[in-house]
Symmetry: D3
Subunit: 312 residues, 6 copies
């Protein structure tokens, strides 16, 4: 008798620590036992080249890594899965091939305006377009919701979805040859899966944000760095990926309690008042401060040795 | 060749209107073609006794309909599924048996404090308890997120999860014999899947809310009505269910564009300023006002005939 | 030479205290000199039956005081004008005739869905329906924005706009025969000029609010009182009007610095956190506390004589 | 050598567990060792008539318990001190004598408009009135900020400060003879130490709140109960105090982790969206759920015995 | 018989598409028929040098374009008028003459402290200064509220109102010789018609914002560019105006549905959380996505031809 | 008989202008008479080298100005005291010695994880760690709450608390040799006394903020300037201190009504919507505009003479 709840082959040896759900009717299960997870998605390659570092590669180079609906939903699932994979402490997001991180939405395959047979504009709005839009927004938001830091490497064509997706991640670096654009206006719509809501939070100059959003013009690495959209430029994709991996490795070597708390507190704070930010911190940290990582880290700091922090 | 994306048997005749995803690599698909959905869940019975009205029954009467983890996750899935089922325009939520809507969380099966082998309090907090809590919160929130109105019928024991769940629904009615309690304090915790965040929004008297939340005392139908927690009392469960069904039927007979818009605008407004509420309304309604339901309704109103509104 | 800026007949004697704008090119003018204002609107009668008390009567009884677009815009103008009329310290809003406060929007004359020749749904939304909706919302909001307290007397048919409008005022009283309804769902739309955004703020029971908004059912005086929508019931319209006038007179006899400050601080507080409410109060009151009304009032309180407060 | 940091007589035996600050230059000290605290304030009596229950009595009956500036500051200090006194789990607030909970601010002694020698209105506003107001607001807010639940017993004259103060507490009960009034308008000012910011949060009917705030009229027990301002009425002061003590004792017998968490989560939720409320709960509870009170409470619940929870 | 509602000469041929209001008592009128609007304001020149591009020139060079009260109110009216003028798709704001965009408020003509005869500081505050301030704020805010993008060209003296006004517009460019200053502190007041509320949103460095606001120091083009206040510098006014016109033309050539939606969504997002931003987008775009501009734009994109989008 | 309320030696001659509290039982006292205050703190030197300018020096150079708990609490008290000291109009914050502004928290003396004898993680969280954290947050926040502008001079090691503290001040300048780091992650915790909540408000690039917060890497002056964390770099500490003093003197020479209002309005605005920012401004400025500083400043501006503004 197999257990379909925890994907083990027998109901006696469960993958999840406290499973037995099918036998006993639904225990509260808190955490999977540590077993290597598998990542199998059509248009993505997920690898773990360094200890604690996952690399997610958009892998549809023949179409400049353009996104289909399935691909957007899938990348949300990948971030969700990595978020609870304790082998992963930091994530690098990149695109396969030399030409593009992503050319954006695959407009040849997209049906932006909904099905033809629904003629009532209100029904089309409420039962088709809004649910679809929320599904796509929700997928992109998984990058932000994950407690694991995500670093995006932008290279070549990085249009539309490239901005939507990368602004939902934590850190952006790019190559010298990157071609960036908030492209949506050029296909007749206001960007709606995140660029407009997040650009105003991740860079400082509103004049510049409106310039690039109203014109859909292509801009390059230097401008992106100067405006703070990216925090580093590398000569080429190879260097950028290596740089991002080093950064990810460095982050992965820190206490995950400290790093993941920092991400959550920063994300909360950018959307709330300072007063609320401090109050939320005072709810979060009194639990987190009880970690064994602190004495370990303090000891390391005093003895100038490098501590090794357990998985989270 | 079968199509696993849209659950049709052949790749030629897709269930979803614009599918063919597996053949062409991922079209943007907006809406399933209208086919009857099936609802098959261990501890729930979902039925459609009236046109457009779904009844969700918690069906574990042998345990006073107490909730296991699986059951909480499942009820979230049911609300999610009904939310996009165009045959459903209003939902009634009830519990099987005479004794209880639900006695609350099944504490014999719950492992509230997480797995024993994780000893670091911070790791337990971040990687076990918080993700579990968010999963349960998220399930309960599906009742609120669904655009379809949900009416809860509270009868008999209605403890803990009964309040968490019913305050996430739109309308609450009860029987004369109902026994209500925000029970969590009695098992040593602050209610955390919604009662505390929602009670302050759904009833007016903060003095009363704090009284019932700090003491976990049991209160009855009259008190619930007086304080506005429920909006009607019925003699017994049979009457209450009939009353709720009549209410659901009435709502289901109205324009779904109008009803679903009203729910979304009310839910948005309760959490935002009046100014923001009006601005959101001015983003929502200019699309919704283009519905064919308005001329239909106006015509009905002028001719005093009852219009029939299409599915949404 | 007449002065068209301050409506005086000559440019030598200006109506406004610091005018002379046309002669000198635009001084900062702060306040009109006290001269009786005139209120001349097609469908409204504005009178001052008591010292400091204005009565605004919706005056289209032949159509049950139903609102045309012009009438909505005009009532906004009336509230705006009264707001800066120092002869007015409190306002009573009522409807002419015995049958209705207002039957709501005049749907025979309304073109809810916009002009027929604009076919693009997005153009209709952005350039027609949204600006129109915002214009109407803005008119209704003037009742809320005015610092002068407004008391609404609801009698007879009080449908749709009756709720939109009265929830933007401060105090609601009604007659025994009042027939109230959030009627919009019955003409196929979600109420969009204020009812949904304000009902959740002015009454306590969300279950009841959703019941009346989803069903558009008619409810009476007792229910409105019990739920807190109105704060008093009177036997008939004559009594209600007299009661409202007495209340308005009482308010008008208090320090206008205190009353108008109270309205602004309550309106701010309902839309902000307690902490923000206190901070705003600490910005407002240190200016207002310097009023000569306080020593006058304290003196009156100590000597048990009734002070007379200057116009504001 | 005495230690002035921890109030011990010698520097060898410190009152605070980790003191020695004066010897070592400032350790991070987290918690006082458990020693009985003393409460000595001119106009207040603080007693502990029941285990875990503190009673704070405003004790200036010869002036109807009217508040001077010192008294307002002091009551803030009392709430602050009780908040960290682990012997206290619930607080009852009452006023000495039969005539009044408090007649409000002692206007004979108050200098509401600031010092006469400062003539610049802006200087008076910024350097006198605003700091004074914020000091008083801050004192009143201590009742809200304390994690310990506070129950106010309102009897006799309960004017002005009675509303400011009691709305900052959690639960309000009253006697049949109570005379309540938001009195500030009658002395020429908008209430500014909390009533206006909190009334809109603690009761449901905005129409009623504005009625009592604009008119300063006196209202009684039945009206207060009906509107939800109080949650119980008692025959007289003796009964009310006994009732409040029983309620406080009941609350004090529950897990303090559960009760104090509930207060914090309710206070946060009333000022934030449901979504934010859930997110804050998901930051707070994963630490609190690790308490030993839960197994203790669950065990008690299963064995139907009453657990005894440790001090917090 | 002329129609004074729609400014036509006869009541038979109305300027507005659905007028006839004076004959039938108030139809809901949604949109003026397309007729050229006229812009006639004393201190402004409004021209349309390019298709879809309006240029608003502050035209009081003899006083360095300093603002009188009338001028502030008028510029609000201009933005309001352009907002509904479908011939206008983008706006350039500039100042006449070589010396100044504007030297700020004309303090010789301003009566900042209100009328001398009102002596009560509270009355002066509530009935004079606050309404005046709100009127001026409201005028400036029209630039922000308009859905049409506004580009400001800053040159020469650009003090006080120059910052208030330009930060309410979308994009700022300047000349090499620009002299910028948040000048208000130098005339004894905190900037109150927008600079302080908007600077913190439009540039990133709070340290720099406070430096320029506390010192009122003059800064130049390079500093403004580096800090993101402007997004481009031009050699002189002629070049800057040409640059701004080219930018405006480019924006005007895009789909107005896309551009105007982008402005509204960016403005909403900067003031709300990411989550709220996405939710608002999901209310707005499902109406806007039904535009015929999208297939037109997609077609253009696929065929590499430039589409022409209809007026909005 | 001495007066313990106002620290005067006799009860006849009070230090505070309206004291006599001990004689009369508690007058509302608004403002101390102007007497020089004294600042005596173990680890700080407070001096007034220029008229109106206070310099606060962290004075524990032997430990690289590392902070103990006492020191954090004390710096809060200093800012609170300076906030009401009318001799102070601007504050410069610096650290003694050449090596460091501050090396951060003195981790040898800190007991970050609470007392060993409290074993229940929930009790440790609620009664130890959270109150301690809130005490420290509150101390740091005093820099922000003070109406007096604070300029921080960062030099040498500026780790951890250096960022927490300086981001709560208004303007940051630094030396060429500064070594900055959000160091907390390196000792196993998320920064919790302000850095994470304030960095997202004081600089523009979220990518950079997350980079420095996740890695705890050390960065220098150029990077801090480029990202907007500081607004000026000086060659060395001597120059930086002189530069900061000049800036402070300049600010101190302006109208304190204007400067302090600007700080409050900027701090409010960064945490609220533009709309709320304008509304708060319209509550604040109508009191402040009545200052005599405005005619003084306008006169100075017209006659090109430098006005001298009274203390606030």
């Amino acid at each position: 008798m197999s257990c379909d709840r925890c994907i083990s082959n027998t109901s006696n040896r469960h993958t999840y620590a406290f499973c037995g759900a099918d036998l006993h009717g639904g225990l509260l299960i808190f955490k999977p036992a540590n077993m290597p997870q598998t990542y199998s998605y059509d248009a993505y390659t997920v690898s773990f080249p360094k200890d604690g570092v996952a690399v997610v590669e958009i892998n549809r180079p023949e179409a400049l890594n353009a996104f289909t609906e399935t691909m957007i939903v899938d990348i949300g699932r990948i971030f969700e899965q990595l978020s609870t994979d304790s082998d992963c402490r930091a994530i690098v997001l990149t695109g396969a091939g030399d030409k593009a991180f992503t050319a954006g939405l695959d407009i040849k395959k997209a049906n932006l305006a909904g099905s033809a047979e629904v003629v009532d504009p209100a029904r089309k709005m409420i039962s088709e377009l809004r649910p679809m839009l929320m599904k796509l927004q929700n997928a992109v938001t998984q990058a932000e919701k994950s407690l694991k830091p995500v670093i995006t490497v932008l290279h070549g064509y990085s249009f539309g979805m490239a901005i939507d997706l990368s602004t939902a991640t934590d850190i952006r670096v790019c190559t010298e040859d990157v071609k960036l654009s908030v492209k949506e206006v050029d296909i007749g719509l206001a960007a709606d899966v995140g660029s407009l809501s997040r650009l105003v939070k991740v860079v400082g100059s509103m004049s510049w944000v409106k310039d690039i959003c109203f014109t859909a013009r292509v801009f390059g690495a230097e401008e992106a760095l100067k405006q703070g959209l990216v925090s580093a430029i590398y000569k080429n994709k190879k260097d950028a990926l290596e740089g991002a991996l080093r950064l990810a490795e460095l982050i992965a070597s820190k206490s995950p309690v400290a790093v993941q708390g920092s991400k959550e507190l920063l994300n909360y704070s950018v959307d709330h008042s300072v007063e609320d930010g401090l109050r939320y911190t005072a709810a979060w940290n009194p639990g987190a401060l009880q970690t064994t990582d602190i004495p370990l880290a303090v000891q390391g700091s005093l003895t100038r040795t490098k501590p090794r922090f357990e998985k989270l």
